[in-house]
Symmetry: C2
Subunit: 89 residues, 2 copies
């Protein structure tokens, strides 16, 4: 048996923040009239990745976010124009 703790090396994952961003992305994508498939194709991201972002499963990188904003042709600050839920404690 090996009960050794491999190392906590805790990484942050802001679940609520990531979900809030997901909601905002869906809103903007719909407003701009894109399907996930179109957005994927035009941005060069994979469809699965877009779906995962919109379902709040993953923590996209800055470059990914920039690619989305560029394709949707919306100012970056608009992509972040939403209320960030309070940090849980």
């Amino acid at each position: 048996m090996n009960f050794v703790q491999k190392s906590a090396r805790k990484r942050i994952f802001d679940e609520d923040g990531v979900k809030a961003f997901a909601t905002q992305l869906i809103k903007i994508r719909n407003r701009e009239g894109y399907t996930q498939t179109q957005l994927a194709f035009e941005s060069g991201l994979s469809l699965s990745q877009i779906a995962r972002i919109e379902t709040g499963r993953i923590n996209p990188t800055l470059s990914t976010i920039l690619a989305l904003g560029r394709t949707l042709n919306v100012p970056l600050k608009d992509m972040f124009d939403f209320e960030l839920p309070l940090e849980k404690e």
Copy 2:
């Protein structure tokens, strides 16, 4: 010898965008009167990570960006209130 291409699996890294964000972060951090060390400590991120972000070496994740914004106590949209350089085709 093995000249086989392992797979291109190209991932995006928006160097200019990442650098523009770096500049914005430095600006806001200074304006709010934080050192990298303080920002690291209060945000729970590592100092090396903050330095790497501010030098445009890495592509931070959304959660990391949110943590920075939360600590600096600045609205998210302000963190993204900068001009995104044109995509080099």
